[in-house]
Point group: C2
């Protein structure tokens, strides 16, 4: 019987092929400079085949970004959390977050800048990977507040402040590579440490 399963497997395989071709092209040439035809060429199918797996180009982008978020989540979760020192964990997580953004700058921008432009109304929906990432942050922040290391402030606000800081420095370093930045790691660490210091009780 297993033909149906085989077919489904093959279909999934092609989907994955399209996805990784798209990611590679998006990352190397920029979303706007990648045409459906280019992707099709790379996987040696006709352009319209892509539409059998993805609604349109934006949907393709969205799927690529989901993968990116998952990868970010995994990277963060690999960091083993020392509950006795939540601030240090937070610090490390911040560094990992920025490092991720700088290691895959194009993927980062696709996910956090380009995608919101094309996919209106994504507000961190229930069960999404994006929500899981933010939950990770929430948990750490919560710990810092409960242990009274941080000011007794709203968990949400505190988390959002931290996100703003790491997102800001990541975006600037990506978008203005020629700006006369002070030493990159110094800047990143200072951003994270300053924000954490400012949040302390």
């Amino acid at each position: 019987m297993g033909t149906k399963e085989r077919r489904a497997r093959e279909k999934e395989q092609l989907r994955q092929q399209i996805l990784s071709a798209a990611r590679e092209l998006f990352v190397n040439e920029g979303y706007e400079n990648v045409s459906m035809r280019k992707i099709a060429n790379k996987i040696e199918y006709s352009p319209t085949t892509i539409y059998l797996h993805f609604k349109d180009k934006a949907d393709l982008l969205d799927s690529v970004c989901q993968e990116t978020l998952l990868s970010l989540l995994n990277t963060l979760e690999q960091l083993k959390r020392d509950t006795s020192n939540p601030v240090e964990t937070l610090r490390k997580s911040g560094r990992v977050y920025v490092a991720f953004g700088l290691k895959y700058p194009q993927d980062y921008k696709l996910t956090f800048v380009i995608r919101p432009q094309f996919q209106k109304g994504l507000g961190l929906q229930e069960g999404s990977i994006g929500e899981k990432v933010f939950n990770y942050l929430r948990a750490m922040v919560s710990e810092c507040i409960q242990q009274k290391i941080f000011r007794q402030m709203d968990v949400e606000t505190t988390g959002q402040v931290l996100w703003s800081a790491v997102h800001g420095v990541t975006m600037l370093l990506i978008d203005f590579p020629d700006f006369p930045w002070t030493e990159k790691d110094t800047l990143i660490n200072t951003v994270i440490d300053t924000t954490i210091e400012g949040l302390k009780a």
Copy 2:
């Protein structure tokens, strides 16, 4: 004789016409969704006329962004600086910066995200408006450090940390309007105050 001058004036006028048509379209429909033909239609000239005034679409974008930066600089400089309380001035400037970004979100993104993507290698060149904006920040930071309110840290790094913070929160609020942010002004103020607090001696 003045015909030459009149001609030059007319030419400049058309240039301005193109610029404001382009800005309006870029802002309302997004850079990528605006074609040279659309701009041309709006000003009732043929598409190729635009090329008599701007090298290409990216150059047009660049000119639009220069205007935006100038507007930002003016907005910042209107704030009268109370040298006896540089921290309060810095706080206000931060709020003004974010408010500017949120008032003209598309212009902000064009300038700080889209343009760097198309104009590689803009590293805050000598005498540019971007440099003037950053100089404004430098001056305020310098004051805070000299008066020993801030930690004795590198002026550059300190300024870059502040820029990261305000840029981060601005970008997030623009790109994820549906995210469950805490009250917007609270978030903005908390970001600014937290960063400043973290920088204090």
